[in-house]
């Protein structure tokens, strides 16, 4: 049942929202068909009973659910706990997610977890390391993996590759998919002063399994911080129009993690994305 509904996502344009507990009630009461799917982080539900499980079951009954992880530390070297991976695999199977994604970052080292998406040194050896780890996770979970490039506020002196080359290296070596986060791309373009379109066009867009859209904060010193707490910028919508020409119709998700507006405002963003996608796929 769930698998069949998930499969529908691949047949056409689908736009979803990040499933957050602060948004849940208004999302459940939004008009039917407002969104096509939701996305959630397994770390927030795995192993929990009671109200969290009930909320998850309610979401699963209403929408297809895609899982997007936060904690695998794909650039780290800590051995992944086989018991956790086994539990995660079962959770993802129950969820019926078509793929699993996590971030190209490091979050943990020597058993300690920062619970932050820390940027990696973009070196060839790091890309190889990530590719091997992604491949291992994909095998353990029995699911296609997609990697998300993260927003960053500083860069390593060891960097050898730019964002697009690093992501391409990981994707091509591991054969995994890409989770294209256009807000991250835009934030990095502003923070590191590069042309987002030039970078976008060198990303491995044909491997895209999903797109993320979000807003961010601009600090007084000009630094852009990927907070997911503001409306999506017009510049990021424009990047979407460009990206869709090469990715084709993949699930597009709006992430909102703070300053939650009325649900109607988020649904306006959903409709804006539908208009852009329809313009790309059906214009003329």
């Amino acid at each position: 049942m769930q698998g069949a509904r998930i499969a529908d996502l691949d047949k056409g344009l689908s736009v979803g929202l990040g499933f957050r507990r602060a948004l849940a009630e208004s999302l459940f009461s939004a008009p039917s068909g407002s969104i096509d799917f939701v996305e959630l982080a397994p770390e927030n539900y795995l192993g929990f009973g009671g109200p969290r499980r009930r909320l998850l079951q309610k979401a699963m009954a209403k929408w297809p659910v895609i899982a997007h992880g936060l904690a695998l530390s794909l650039g780290g070297d800590d051995k992944l706990d086989p018991v956790y991976l086994e539990e995660l695999a079962q959770f993802l199977s129950d969820l019926g997610t078509p793929h699993y994604s996590d971030h190209l970052c490091i979050g943990s080292a020597h058993g300690r977890h920062s619970h932050e998406l820390l940027p990696l040194p973009r070196t060839m050896s790091c890309a190889r390391h990530c590719a091997e780890r992604v491949d291992g996770v994909s095998r353990a979970l029995g699911l296609p993996m997609a990697v998300e490039h993260v927003s960053a506020y500083g860069s390593w002196p060891e960097d050898e590759l730019d964002e697009a080359d690093f992501v391409t290296e990981v994707v091509e070596r591991s054969g995994c998919g890409l989770l294209l986060d256009l807000n991250n791309l835009y934030v990095n373009a502003r923070n590191f002063e590069f042309d987002p379109y030039e970078m976008l066009n060198r990303m491995p867009l044909e491997a895209t399994l999903q797109i993320h859209m979000a807003g961010h904060e601009r600090r007084p010193d000009g630094l852009r911080v990927d907070t997911h707490s503001e409306a999506i910028l017009d510049e990021v919508y424009a990047l979407l129009a460009e990206a869709l020409k090469r990715t084709g119709p993949v699930p597009i998700l709006i992430e909102r993690d703070g300053h939650f507006p009325p649900i109607e405002e988020l649904l306006v963003e959903v409709e804006q994305i539908r208009r852009i996608a329809n313009g790309v796929f059906f214009a003329g």
């Binding site: 009671g50 009930r54 490091i106 300690r112 390593w156």
Partner: protein, 236 residues
């Protein structure tokens, strides 16, 4: 502690108490983010502790937790559980208050499926609700407030129970004295009818005080009415 990958030095930088020089410019931003998200989750998890001890004390404890190689859970919502375990094992004098606050979350999140369960009827056997969380405190932590940070010692040891009720997910609490707490332990091990439990509980006490029978009976009625005791046939 040696770090083999360059990226690992950033993890150390954001978590260590004395991190040394940043591995790259603006790395201190990540350190700030990391500290903030952990302090946020601890403040939300332990509001009474924070109001009694203050945010600065909680942050100081967080630093000690980090120095002790925490956090090690990859599930962010479980950080407060790991913090509590660390506080208990490291002799933090107020870990009983942290435990008191966290018991409700443990009961709420317990993975047991309860919706098909119901309380025992008259003459039926009953067992403790599988989500029930029992802990003993040497002092009356439920009395701790910013105005009364140290409850009167005359209250003596307390046994706290916390459980999730089927269907509604309501979290119920109960505080009992040591004798009633010991008696309830019997129902954690074996399903018994009320009368059998009363008999065993009183037999186990060499010198049960006057009124013990009535107190046990009242407690049983109360726990059954609030589904702290459930039918074993459904549980097994």
């Amino acid at each position: 502690m040696g770090f083999s990958l360059p990226g690992e030095s950033l993890v150390r930088f954001v978590l260590d108490f004395d991190p040394g020089p940043p591995p790259f410019p603006r790395a201190d931003l990540y350190r700030g983010f990391t500290r903030k998200i952990h302090l946020d989750i601890l403040e939300v998890a332990f509001p009474r502790f924070r109001s009694v001890m203050g945010s600065a004390a909680l942050e100081e404890m967080m630093d000690s937790f980090f120095r002790s190689n925490g956090p090690q859970t990859l599930q962010y919502p479980c950080v407060p559980d790991e913090f509590l375990a660390w506080a208990s094992s490291s002799g933090c004098p107020d870990h009983d208050l942290l435990n008191y606050e966290r018991a409700a979350v443990r009961a709420e999140r317990h993975p047991a499926e309860l919706d098909h369960l119901r309380a025992p009827g008259e003459g039926e056997r009953g067992r403790l609700n599988p989500t029930i969380d029992v802990f003993v405190a040497e002092r009356a932590v439920h009395r701790i407030t910013p105005e009364t940070p140290q409850p009167p010692t005359s209250d003596g040891p307390q046994v706290y129970l916390c459980w999730r009720r089927p269907t509604t997910d309501e979290v119920a609490r109960q505080r009992v004295g040591p004798l009633l707490g010991r008696a309830l332990g019997i129902l954690g091990l074996k399903a018994l009818t009320r009368e059998a439990w009363l008999s065993r509980a009183l037999d186990a006490e060499s010198a049960a005080p006057a009124g013990a029978y009535e107190a046990l009976l009242e407690l049983h009625r109360d726990l059954v009415s609030r589904e702290g005791i459930l039918r074993p046939d459904d549980l097994d």
